[in-house]
């Protein structure tokens, strides 16, 4: 029931069309029942009736008229049927369009915690395979169910008006069908849940193989990958068979029961005619309409089968549909209009994933316009620290403040809109270079795109590419060198003209001359901006207003270059190494 309500909710806008379609289905079924009558009339009047020859001689016009009616009626029925089909299509497309929209929004909103547990392939399965099942359910399951119910009820009512005892005999098989279907439903459900798990696993295996194709080739692991995928492929193949065979196991019982209606009809019909309870004509009516009872009963199995499949998929969709990220904007978020000033403050911040604490008691302040460099060993918590500013993660204790406001109380859009970030894992889109640079600021005029590309020292190599700024780069930026990707990522961060610029080791893969150019460009930006940068090179860090050295999640050293050199700690050590 919940599922149906959920479907109904997402049908908003197409509900009227859908109901019309359902009505048309009923009309169509009725027309199906009526259509043979016209043909029979023609046959009775002009072919087999006692006055057939007479009628033909006198009523050529009538014959033509009736033939025209026959064709006309079919045309009409086809039009109704076509319209109703198109209405179903429209509704189901509308529905998945709306669901897709919500899913996409949710995918975009989910926080890092969600993606730690949901692999790309899993999410892809929901939005491709599972959504297709939902579409099918609207276009087929409900419609077919209705057809069956209408046909069955109409026939049953009609039968009772003819002979109640015979009608009861015909109805006697129905409970068996229902019973078998119920057993089948319980048996097949788990198989479909399993089936979509297997699909999801296969999707993930293929997805990772595609994304990691370079590593696969580098290690010449093609055979291993083929074997790995083959396991998933096989598992999916077997899950499919299992589900289908469960259906086939119940199929004989259902089918035999449904088809036995004709046995019941001829046996009891014969007896009742023999007893004189029914006329022969009445028997013929029953016999002629047996299919209208047996067809719905036969279809019931298919409906239940598809419904179970739909349920397995729908639950996954609904999980994502209603899944709310932990990091959300508060209802009473403070409004900070205009450009952020760029003050960033950490107050006794602690942070961890699960039970492992990564950062402990971090406190520092970056005044507007200042530059803070963060250094520290691999795994010391540098990236975790900067992730707290745009709320990629939330603190577990303490506060992160921007312009004096706790970031958790700010509007996400205002907070993130004021921050430009160049992440370590450079993810570029398969879009043009220009499209990638103006990613966060799509209205950026072309000359500004070039300006920021120049600031990131990327203009030179961009110009050398075949189509310049219109060159399409591959997904994740494949095809570009690490340093080139980093520079485009930097240009992308600059292009939003942020109040707080966060650079996560953005120049690690560029050569030293480029790095110097970038450093100079960063100190001459045409907008005021606080810079927080993770660096490994002393050359990058030394000119910062303050250098923070992290060690195991705590601040071990903090001060200017000169101060830290005197301290004989990590910074000094690195300085000596790089001298």
């Amino acid at each position: 029931m919940f599922l149906l309500r959920w479907l109904w909710k997402n049908m908003k806008g197409d509900r009227l069309i859908y109901c019309t379609a359902l009505c048309m289905t009923v009309v169509c079924q009725a027309m199906h029942l009526i259509a043979p009558n016209i043909t029979r009339q023609i046959i009775d009047t002009f072919l087999v009736g006692e006055e057939a020859a007479e009628n033909l001689r006198n009523g050529t016009d009538k014959l033509l008229l009736m033939l025209a009616a026959m064709i006309g009626f079919t045309l009409l029925r086809c039009v109704v049927q076509y319209s109703s089909n198109m209405c179903y299509e429209r509704t189901s497309q509308g529905l998945i369009y709306r669901v897709r929209k919500v899913l996409f929004d949710n995918i975009e909103k989910q926080d890092a915690g969600f993606y730690d547990t949901h692999r790309t392939g899993d999410v892809m399965t929901v939005v491709t395979g599972d959504l297709e099942m939902v579409r099918h359910s609207i276009a087929w399951i409900i419609k077919t169910t209705l057809e069956c119910v209408v046909l069955y009820t109409a026939t049953m009512v009609f039968f009772f008006t003819i002979d109640w005892l015979m009608a009861l005999c015909m109805m006697a098989l129905t409970p068996f069908i229902l019973l078998i279907t119920k057993g089948f439903r319980r048996a097949v459900g788990p198989f479909y849940v399993d089936l979509r798990e297997k699909l999801s696993a296969m999707n993930t295996a293929a997805e990772e193989n595609i994304s990691g194709n370079r590593v696969v080739k580098a290690f010449a692991r093609e055979d291993f990958e083929i074997e790995k995928f083959d396991k998933c492929n096989k598992a999916y193949n077997e899950a499919n068979k299992k589900a289908a065979f469960t259906w086939l196991k119940y199929f004989p019982a259902l089918e035999i029961t449904a088809q036995s209606l004709s046995v019941v009809c001829v046996l009891f019909g014969g007896i009742f005619v023999a007893w004189g309870r029914m006329t022969f004509g009445e028997y013929a009516t029953f016999a002629g309409l047996v299919w209208t009872l047996s067809n719905p009963m036969r279809t019931l199995g298919n409906i239940v089968n598809d419904y179970q499949r739909f349920t397995a998929s729908a639950h996954k969709i609904i999980e994502l549909y209603y899944g709310r990220p932990f990091i959300v904007e508060r209802e009473d978020a403070v409004d900070v209009p205009g450009r952020l000033k760029g003050k960033v403050e950490f107050r006794d911040v602690s942070f961890g994933y699960g039970n492992t604490e990564i950062l402990h008691d971090i406190s520092f302040t970056a005044e507007p316009g200042e530059t803070i460099a963060i250094m520290g060993a691999t795994g010391s918590g540098k990236t975790s620290l900067i992730n707290l500013i745009p709320r990629i993660y939330d603190v577990t204790a303490g506060q992160v403040l921007v312009d004096g406001h706790d970031v958790r109380k700010m509007k996400l859009k205002q907070l993130r809109g004021g921050i430009g970030i160049a992440t370590q894992d450079v993810l570029l889109y398969s879009d043009t270079i220009e499209g990638n640079i103006s990613f966060g600021n799509i209205d950026l005029p072309e000359d500004e795109v070039i300006k920021y590309a120049k600031a990131a020292d990327a203009h030179g190599f961009i110009e050398k590419t075949s189509d310049g700024y219109d060159t399409i780069i591959g997904e994740r930026g494949v095809g570009l060198s690490g340093g080139q990707k980093q520079r485009i990522s930097l240009a992308r961060a600059l292009a939003v003209k942020p109040s707080v610029l966060i650079l996560d080791d953005t120049t690690s893969a560029v050569d030293l001359e480029t790095e110097r150019n970038i450093r100079e460009a960063l100190s001459n930006l045409d907008f005021p901006c606080t810079k927080i940068m993770i660096a490994q090179r002393i050359t990058t860090a030394r000119s910062a207003d303050r250098i923070i050295v992290l060690k195991d999640g705590t601040i071990a050293e903090m001060g200017t270059h000169e101060e830290l050199i005197r301290q004989n700690g990590y910074y000094r050590e690195v300085y000596e190494l790089q001298k």
Binding site: T60, F245, V263, T423, G479, L577
Partner: protein
């Protein structure tokens, strides 16, 4: 190369022709026996099905009286027996065909995936990954039914039509021709619909491909979207793609849905024509014949209707099938030459002979490059970003083929040996340190599947990440994935490095292997790497000069070649580009 992005439709290179169909049938061909057997069973089932009306007819004619009741019971039992037999026959058939259908999907998908592994970098670099993914997973699923039940039904219905036609011809050939007159009209209508339908479904497959490609990128890049507050813009793009998918679908389905009514109307019209012609223009024909012919015309069109439905499914499936074949036909440009030898155990001499290389025709990245490296030497490649350092190391592993010249390892031209024997002896750590979902141990052993846990730990100790891993709750059994698992970029890089070390390569290539690792850890790592470099030919790309200094030889890459080459001291003395680079780094 022409790259594709999410909102560009992929044009189909090859028009559909009968070859595709034949090719699809070869997949079914592997299961010939079972398909024929199913066909045979279907025929028997139909015959049994035909018995039922005869029994009913007999019962109605003879047993509807008090004396007839025992006989009637017998008839009912016979009828039930017929039903049971035909139901079990069709169950058997369905079981067989389900197996065959699923196995065909499995086969196609297996071939597709196998072929994918042979495709070069360019293939993956030049299109959104989501587009590749939907082909392997979703498209393949949509072609199974047509290959199994489709074939059987096609045969059965065709036979059906033939029989009915012959039968009608015997009963009354004039009226039979009247029925057949409907065929050209019907054919014309179907042709009209079919041409549009095919294009329309192609468009649907294109649009769904675009939609999924964008979706895939959005999932992968979700954090970037969030920090750049792009959610609304992305939602709009998604909306646009979803809308164009919807309208493509509506158009295609609009055509598909026409087929059925068209058959219906033509069928009814021929029936009307029989009555009309029979009654008004053929006075010699008996009424019974007209009655029968009216009935037969219905039975003639019934299978045709089934065939048109089949055609609908088929055209729909073809839109996906041709994409699958297109991918299967994608040339594996870098593959073993016919008769390629196994690469003997590598000693480690590397020679570039007059190598010219370009990613795009006409834009040479390297020109006439020659150099020799002796076994066991360590070479540092330095120079401005984008100068071609990565390209040089990619050529050693034959990730790309040359436009001119030769690359030799020991004395074998690397294009003459099998790829597997070449690459499996090399350890290449790329800039992209992709982590597969699985445990840390799984990832480490990716480099050498038969390595023991102890060896894997030893590799981790060399790179200095063993301490960290052991502090994790599940240690080496901790689940990680490309995005998740709480590993920092530096830690991922260390694991990738340990993975390469574990593979115990003859030639080692480290491309920015330590870029995300801090200076102090790197220093510590240096000892491990030095140990690793001993006795191996190695190529190291790094920007940090502390890493470079210790190499046997440094090559400065720029201007499509190597401009300076020598030891650190020699190059410093030369006061050229390397000297400039070195002094820029000095604090």
């Amino acid at each position: 190369m022409a790259r594709n992005k999410f909102d560009i439709d992929e044009t189909l290179e090859t028009p559909f022709d009968i070859k595709h169909l034949k090719r699809a049938l070869t997949y079914a061909g592997r299961y010939k026996k079972r398909i024929f057997l199913s066909l045979f069973i279907s025929v028997i089932a139909s015959v049994t099905g035909l018995l039922s009306p005869l029994i009913v007819q007999y019962a109605v004619d003879n047993c509807f009286s008090s004396e007839g009741i025992p006989m009637l019971t017998l008839c009912a039992a016979g009828l039930l027996a017929c039903i049971v037999v035909s139901v079990f026959l069709s169950q058997t058939r369905s079981k067989m065909m389900t197996r065959v259908g699923q196995d065909i999907i499995y086969d196609i998908r297996k071939d597709l995936f196998r072929h994918m592994q042979e495709l070069p970098f360019e293939y993956y670099d030049s299109r959104p990954h989501g587009k590749i993914l939907v082909r392997v997973i979703n498209y393949v699923n949509s072609v199974s039914d047509i290959m199994t039940n489709g074939i059987i039904n096609f045969v059965l219905e065709t036979v059906n039509i033939l029989f009915i036609t012959i039968f009608m011809m015997f009963v009354c050939w004039q009226l039979a021709l009247t029925v057949l007159c409907g065929l050209p009209i019907y054919g014309a209508i179907i042709m009209f619909i079919k041409n549009r339908q095919r294009k329309a479904w192609q468009k649907v497959s294109n649009k769904s491909s675009n939609l999924n490609a964008y979706l895939h990128e959005s999932i992968v890049g979700v954090q970037i979207s969030q920090v750049f507050t792009r959610e609304e813009v992305n939602a709009e793009i998604n909306d646009k793609l979803a809308k164009s998918y919807r309208s493509a679908w509506m158009k295609a389905v609009g055509y598909s849905n026409l087929v059925w009514p068209a058959t219906d109307v033509v069928s009814i019209s021929t029936r009307a024509a029989i009555y009309l012609i029979g009654l008004l223009f053929m006075p010699g024909v008996s009424l019974g014949t007209i009655l029968a012919m009216g009935d037969y015309s219905g039975r003639f069109w019934q299978p045709l209707m089934q065939l048109s439905n089949l055609m609908n499914t088929f055209i729909n499936a073809v839109a996906y099938l041709e994409r699958i074949f297109e991918m299967l036909d994608e040339p594996a440009s870098i593959k073993d030459k016919p008769g390629a030898k196994e690469m003997p155990e590598i000693k480690g001499d590397v020679h570039f002979r007059d190598v010219t290389f370009a990613y795009e025709n006409g834009v040479n990245v390297l020109e006439h490059l020659s150099f020799d490296v002796k076994a066991g030497q360590s070479i540092a490649l330095v120079g401005p970003t984008g100068a071609g350092k990565t390209t040089i190391v990619n050529l050693i592993s034959r990730f790309y083929d040359l436009n001119g010249g030769k690359v030799l390892i020991d004395d074998s031209d690397i294009s003459e040996v099998t790829l597997h024997s070449l690459r499996s002896q090399m350890g290449i750590m790329l800039q992209d340190s992709f982590i597969f979902s699985g445990t840390i141990m799984d990832n480490l052993k990716y480099g050498r599947l038969d390595a023991t846990d102890e060896e894997a730990r030893a590799a981790c100790r060399i790179v200095g990440i063993d301490d960290y891993i052991t502090t994790l709750k599940d240690g080496y059994r901790t689940k990680v994935s490309e995005r998740g698992g709480g590993l920092s970029q530096g830690q991922k890089q260390l694991i990738a490095l340990a993975r390469t070390i574990l593979s115990d390569p003859k030639i080692l290539v480290l491309d920015e292997a330590t870029s995300s690792i801090d200076a102090k850890t790197e220093r510590y790592l240096q000892n491990g790497i030095d140990h690793l470099l001993k006795g191996r030919t190695s190529f190291i790309i790094a920007h940090r000069l502390s890493t470079i200094r210790s190499c046997d030889r440094i090559m400065y890459v720029s201007d499509k070649g190597i401009t300076e080459s020598g030891t650190h001291d020699e190059l410093i003395a030369k006061r050229g580009d390397y000297y400039k680079l070195y002094t820029a780094q000095a604090v």
